[in-house]
């Protein structure tokens, strides 16, 4: 039991560090999802099944979906802006 707790705690610390030092958001979302899995396990090992269930349900679909949607939205905005600038540029040149 003690081994289990110590191991999972160290896992949590390492995974969190890795997530923070992943600077590219798209990669980081996958890392955050993995971190959620480890965290849910830690909660269960610390005898908190309610909290673990909360973490699992949130971390599995809802949180990644929100991050992915906002990343997609931001990328789309950037593309649209670029296109608009290009067409303006063309108009000025003409």
């Amino acid at each position: 039991m003690l081994v289990l707790q110590a191991t999972i705690l160290i896992f949590v610390a390492i995974t969190a560090t890795a997530v923070v030092f992943t600077r590219q958001p798209v990669r980081q979302v996958v890392g955050l999802s993995f971190y959620g899995i480890i965290l849910g396990l830690l909660f269960f090992i610390l005898q908190a099944p309610d909290v673990a269930l909360s973490q699992i349900t949130i971390g599995a679909v809802a949180l990644p979906l929100m991050f992915m949607l906002s990343l997609a939205k931001i990328r789309r905005d950037a593309e649209e802006r670029k296109r608009r600038e290009e067409s303006e540029h063309r108009r000025e040149a003409a």
């Binding site: 908190a48 099944p49 309610d50 673990a52 269930l53 909360s54 349900t57 949130i58 599995a60 679909v61 809802a62 979906l65 929100m66 949607l69 906002s70 997609a72 939205k73 789309r76 593309e79 649209e80 296109r83």
Partner: protein, 258 residues
């Protein structure tokens, strides 16, 4: 403040926080030797006093009910905030969709429908997920679970419909107005359920229903209805938030397809 100064400032502060924290923790009971009285009292008395086997749910919706009401209003307010921030500005409503669509196709990013196997598997999963979510909400006072977790699971079901490639069905299931009304009704239900206790001359959120036999689904008095209200509020809130994000991201892209 430039980048390097900020980093050094952070490092000094981090060392200070770490030192202070360690010295504070040394005064606390060591890990694994909990000695506060509240947890023990609750663990001993809850089953007798409230006929509920999951003490965490009892703390959430009965002993500490007013706190949970506060938490739920945080949830409500952040959902409202998201909806307000992401509402469509009127200038963008008449954006030329054709231009967007051709731009997408030019870049080779037209949308392929997911394969039939994915669709069948995903849509087949929706039914069990709804049943499981309802089970988690309904058994919140017996086994781990409750309105919050069950609500999230229920919110996942319409999202799966979208992920199977059916945005139209998603919009039909999760009609935006209905979802918003559900969100409001969830919080309102919680607020109203607190009143009967006051009318009967007690405190807000006091139990007025019969307690039933512990271990049965119909037990615990007020906790089950409050659980259901929370489940409705949470699931509606999450679906509403995802809906506005989806609408913003996808609207123009999907219009050309169907």
């Amino acid at each position: 403040m430039n980048r390097r100064v900020r980093r050094w400032f952070f490092l000094i502060c981090a060392c200070a926080i770490f030192g202070l924290f360690v010295s504070a923790v040394r005064q606390m009971p060591t890990f694994g030797h909990y000695r506060g009285p509240y947890g023990d009292i609750l663990n001993r008395e809850t089953v007798y006093e409230r006929h509920i086997t999951d003490v965490v749910t009892a703390v959430n919706f009965d002993w500490r009910g007013i706190d949970t009401l506060g938490e739920e209003s945080i949830l409500f307010l952040s959902v409202i905030g998201t909806l307000v921030l992401l509402r469509k500005p009127s200038s963008e409503v008449n954006d030329s969709h054709d231009e967007n669509d051709t731009a997408d196709k030019r870049k080779g990013r037209e949308i392929p429908l997911p394969s039939a196997a994915t669709r069948v598997a995903t849509l087949g999963l929706v039914g069990p997920l709804v049943v499981f979510g309802l089970y988690i909400v309904a058994h919140g006072h017996l086994t781990p679970g409750g309105g919050f977790q069950g609500g999230v699971i229920l919110a996942t079901a319409p999202l799966l419909v979208y992920l199977a490639g059916d945005l139209k069905s998603f919009k039909r299931i999760a009609n935006h107005e209905t979802v918003q009304i559900g969100e409001a009704l969830g919080l309102l239900g919680f607020l109203i359920l607190g009143l009967p206790g006051m009318i009967r001359g007690g405190a807000y959120l006091r139990n007025v229903l019969p307690l039933g036999t512990s271990g049965h689904v119909f037990s615990g008095g007020m906790i089950a209805p409050i659980n259901v209200c929370t489940g409705v509020a949470v699931s509606a809130g999450l679906v509403a938030v995802t809906y506005v994000f989806l609408e913003h991201t996808l609207e123009t892209r999907l219009r050309g397809r169907r």
